[in-house]
Symmetry: C2
Subunit: 216 residues, 2 copies
């Protein structure tokens, strides 16, 4: 398996955690999102992913490259059933996927690099307003997640039960991202307790941006 | 089953299509996104979905409400295996999910109501700039999808093969949405051919915004 990503990309970080939780071996290739105007826009990378977004994943020499981190999580879960990332009950599966999608759809894409660039470049928004934008959508999303997780009896040491899984793969990179923007995390004690537990596990440590070969 | 949605919400529209393709009966309740400052912000609705986003889905009298339209699609697919929405091969499943996620993560959330409101309200962006924002992200996303679908041998009459499925449930509402904003769809002939085929099917017709009880 080969993962094309970037150390600081939270979507790449999600997939690294999932692969580590499954105990799978994988190679990595770095696609630098800033250098040379963004290596994700190169013709070579567009062959892997016409959307010019990281990550991309190849599993098997002749296989078609995959895109979209959540599609990769589902693929990994279906293809490598050891150490399940999702619970078995359909309602619980929907709940865990919804936690992940609340981050992957409603926090992350609104705040990723291309959006922030458009805000300052095309719309001429100030750095202060751009930061406020980032913090606003993170805070709105985290507040809803905190409410869900704090009140749901299915939460355990991790987002669902006492084993890390699908939702944790998505939550931890988003918290990392928010902390880079100095979001005050004190209103989200439940999220932060889960974060702390995850960051003590070798699978999460090995997946963290600082531990990647392309870390700066 | 009971779906809480809004006639024009594309996320609700996705779920209506999926339920119709499966031939499932469901009740609907309308959550008006504009009236009374947005009914999705009412305390009553927040009990169903603390994220204040539509849709929400309940399956079974005592069951916990579900959120996030793609989690619902997965739930519907797993719980009602008749008329599969996803192919069976893991690589194909990843491909189809990635098509859906490319819309659900990278086009739709960047352009939904709360974002457009923030652009004009908080950032004081002009209507012209707000429209340009919408059209830009739609065009970027559709261009990548067109490239994928036009070149992938797995495309048939629909996004994958000759039966409508998971990706079509997400594509058709996004095209509807783009057309409301007068996006020029001529650069996307493959998407438009799929759209036309879908809009001839009773499952898609019954799910369309104009056919809903709360249509205006």
């Amino acid at each position: 398996m080969k993962l094309f990503g970037y150390f600081r990309s939270s979507a790449s970080y999600r997939v690294r955690i999932a692969l580590n939780l499954k105990g799978l071996d994988y190679e990595q290739a770095s696609i630098h999102l800033l250098r040379n105007g963004g290596e994700q826009f190169s013709e070579e990378y567009k062959q892997l992913n016409p959307e010019s977004l990281v990550p991309a994943l190849i599993d098997g020499a002749d296989s078609v490259p995959m895109s979209q981190s959540l599609a990769m999580l589902e693929y990994i879960e279906e293809s490598y059933p050891q150490t399940p990332l999702l619970p078995s009950n359909p309602h619980d599966r929907a709940y865990v996927r919804a936690l992940a999608l609340a981050i992957a759809c409603d926090i992350h894409p609104v705040n990723n690099l291309r959006i922030l660039k458009y805000l300052s470049g095309t719309l001429g928004v100030s750095d202060e307003q751009k930061n406020a934008w980032y913090l606003h959508w993170c805070a709105v999303g985290f507040a809803a997640l905190e409410q869900r997780l704090a009140n749901d009896p299915r939460r355990g040491l991790f987002c669902f039960g006492d084993r890390p899984g699908y939702a944790d793969c998505v939550l931890i990179p988003q918290i990392f991202n928010a902390q880079r923007f100095n979001l005050d995390m004190s209103p989200y004690p439940t999220l932060m307790a889960i974060n702390q537990r995850c960051l003590e596990l070798p699978e999460f440590i090995a997946a963290s941006p600082a531990k990647q070969a392309d870390a700066e």
